[in-house]
Amino acid sequence: MSRIGPGSSERVGGSRRRRLGLQPERMRELSLLAIIVVAVLAFSLVFENALSGRFFNRVTTSVAITAVLAAGQTVVIITRNIDLSVGSIVGVTAYLTGEYLGDHPDAGLFLAIGVAVLIGGALGLVNGALVAYGRVPAIIVTLGTLAIYRTWLIEHANSQNITADTLPQWLDELPRASVLSFGEFDIRLTFAVAVLVVVVLQIALGRLRWGRWLYAVGSNPDAARQAGLPAQPLTLVAFVVSGALAGLAGFMFLERFGTITVFAGSGLELASVAAAVVGGVSVLGGSGTVFGAMLGAVLIALLDQSLLRTPQVSEFWRDAILGALILAGVAADFLVGKRLRRRWAESRRSLSLGATSERGAVTDA
């Protein structure tokens, strides 16, 4: 009868179930990969050079910024929060870093990145403090700071743009720098950096104690408190990471576009949330991977770039498709979740034959 007693060695979350249990994330990533491949093939029928190295380079360069942002966004969403301010943080850091480089042409690459990351991290800290210690919901805080940071930038810039000619020469050459080349296919430095960020974060979230705690806090905040996890500092850290990565993205933005207006980066907050959600990061917190978010970002960039090159479909379809993708992502997330809950209920029944179904039964109804 009992399946967890000493006499019975039957496994409650048996190995079959384990594969099913852990699988959703992997499944999600695999299916995203499949969708990406199918999309590339489909677009290759529509316009010529979808399989060319050149197109590959276009997609990878344009995905770099969103992928970095989506990685940061993932960290925040895992803790059951959201960061809508990243678009403005990108703008502020791109602008200020550009200004800094204009004033200090001798500053090197790493110093410039350091400045950008520091500024971004500081802005993230403000968000994090308000959410973790002020206990204002993240959506409110970051909707507010989205406006506030942008306003500050506009005031600060006094309608002066950062232009390419004020920037040091090495910055101009950065977008063309490749780490590796296979014929026409380049791995551009920016893309390599984005991949590096994703890999590092993926490992950190998977293997660092604090990484697992971030999942724990998002998965069950009450339990996290009872387990004595530092929930508030963790939330703060998540926002700082997101801000710092937005700062890095701001630097990438600067080196890519050269010209920075006070509206640089606006709208990227939605793209990053979209990438994360499409990539299987659960908006309920506690689950999802940075790698999935990266795939989400790739899919979105692929759509963007392909639609620009598909004369039959106007590029204006982009946002509509993006909205549909998010909805599909969330719905898939929930259907999986629902199945899990149902399985849970079943396992409870099989354990105790009708015992404790009182709660389970209602949630199914």
Partner: protein, 497 residues
């Protein structure tokens, strides 16, 4: 194995919340390897005591010594450092983390990097010492409550806990799961862990405890080795009155059948439930928690509709599709979960009472007539003797017993033919309990058909005309009042021979 001896000694603990003295001069000693049961009515101060020990509240007065050293426990983390951990009725697991992570998540000393393989190995070995076999890589969201509780105990072991506080850990478990849990607890005490065990189920307490302590009104009433305590004595200590005071049921005569239920069932939840309730009759639904009693009620109330069998209400067939539908046909259901399903806490006393029947209080323009609402609420306030500062007071400011009566008023106001009461006296004080019983009796006398779901066996026996017993989703017997005994019902409910 550690030497037995006092692990924690609390002396003179007091805690005050505004006007309420939650705890007054309580002293308690918990020995290693001993299972110490803590008994008390709701509001007796058990939770406050636990919260002080786990660092959630600070005591106003008193000291705690751990292993003879003064301990300043200010946070759950402090408690953890002193080897104190608590397990609650609803396990606090992380559904998105796997079993091994759930066991080790609170560990701070395990380094910055998670070493998965070692963690899995250690998790497996801890679970093995408990005699539990779980896949340590499975996500916790897929586990049963019992398995989750096993994970919690494993977590406590992994933290090298020296004092494990278990707050009603058996409330959501089946009988078999409870006995497995007790095996696990005994494993623990053999290694010298002190256990503070809180339960409302006396039989469990007497089965497992080495020592029984009773709190009442924030004071320690008695603390004796189990062998020197009898259930009756413990109950008297808890309530301070004779048991006979509680239950009153006047002479009465049941009328015509109102509700007839035949072979009712819901796939995978419960099946084969057949009964009828007459006017003026109280039908008790007994069984262990989780035996499917609430599921029957939810089916009748249209929350989780039945998919087998038939229901006949007042001579007409009824397939309740939704609570609104069931209500319109004259069924009312007072939920066991007052806070999550019963009352809207920030809403006023009046709005809570009129909530299901709002459409009755509209004027010509279909606007709410608040005077009429208040009149009704006031009537119930007097009739049920509900103490509320005003009719507009949010119910969150009422005491548990008055909240419970408010809920009762809310459902009585729907003027139901059949009133289903699910644990109507759960978590309220003794005085309020007696009042509720009196109300039930009056309602039955006035001709209402009542289904009473209760885990409190004496209550069921005293109040019911007939008792239907369920076990594991099935109906296992119906006892008429004259034949019903505690032993008979328990035997049926537990399926024990």
């Amino acid at each position: 194995m550690t030497e037995p001896g006092p692990y924690l000694r609390a002396s003179g603990l007091s805690k005050r919340f505004d006007a309420t003295q939650a705890l007054e001069d309580v002293s308690l000693t918990l020995h290693q390897g001993e299972i110490h049961a803590l008994l008390g009515e709701n509001g007796a101060g058990k939770s406050t005591l636990i919260k002080i020990m786990t660092g959630i509240h600070a005591p106003d007065q008193g000291t705690i010594l751990v292993r003879g050293e003064p301990a300043n426990i200010r946070s759950p983390a402090d408690a953890q450092r002193h080897g104190i951990a608590a397990i609650y009725q609803e396990p606090t697991i992380f559904p998105d983390l796997n079993v091994a992570e759930n066991i080790f998540v609170g560990h701070r000393e395990r380094g910055t990097v998670v070493r998965w393989r070692r963690m899995y190995r250690e998790a497996e070995s801890i679970l093995a010492t408990l005699g539990v076999h779980l896949d340590v890589r499975a996500l916790a969201s897929g586990l049963s409550v019992a398995a989750q509780q096993a994970v919690e105990i494993a977590k406590a072991i992994s933290l090298d806990v020296k004092l494990l506080i278990m707050d009603e850990p058996t409330a959501a478990l089946s009988a078999h799961e409870v006995s497995r849990l007790f095996d696990q607890v005994r494993h623990l005490t053999e290694t010298g862990v002190a256990v503070l065990f809180i339960s409302h189920r006396l039989e469990e307490v007497f089965e497992i405890a080495d020592r029984v302590t009773v709190l009442r009104d924030g004071r320690l009433i008695s603390s004796n080795p189990r062998d020197e305590v009898t259930p009756q004595g413990a109950i008297q200590d808890m309530v301070g009155r004779e048991m006979a005071d509680f239950f009153s049921r006047s002479e009465h005569q049941a009328g015509d059948p109102v509700l007839r239920v035949e072979e009712l069932g819901r796939e995978g939840i419960f099946s084969g439930v057949t009964f009828e309730v007459r006017r003026g009759e109280v039908l008790g639904l007994a069984g262990l928690v989780g035996a499917g009693r609430t599921d029957v009620a939810l089916a009748l109330f249209g929350i989780a509709p039945a998919d087998q069998g038939s229901v006949d209400l007042g001579g007409r067939p009824l397939i309740p599709r939704s609570p609104g539908h069931a209500m319109r046909r004259g069924i009312a259901y007072l939920s066991e979960d007052r806070l999550q399903r019963g009352l809207s806490l920030p809403q006023s006393f009046t709005s809570n009472i009129t909530l299901p029947t709002l459409r009755r209080y509209v004027s010509r323009l279909r606007l709410l007539d608040s005077a009429a609402e208040r009149a009704v609420a006031d009537r119930f306030r007097r009739r049920l003797n509900i103490r509320t500062p005003s009719l507009r007071t949010p119910v969150e400011r009422l005491s548990g017993g008055n909240q419970q009566k408010t809920m009762l008023a809310k459902w009585l106001n729907t003027q139901p033919a059949v009133l289903i009461l699910d644990e109507p006296t759960h978590g309220i004080d003794v005085g309020a309990k007696a009042e509720v019983h009196k109300i039930i009796d009056e309602l039955a006398r006035s001709g209402m058909a009542i289904i009473l779901i209760s885990s409190d066996l004496p209550e069921v026996l005293a109040m019911s005309d007939r008792v239907l017993v369920m076990r594991e989703g099935r109906q296992v017997g119906v006892f008429v009042r004259s034949e019903a005994t505690q032993e008979g019902i328990i035997t049926a409910a537990m399926g024990a021979a």
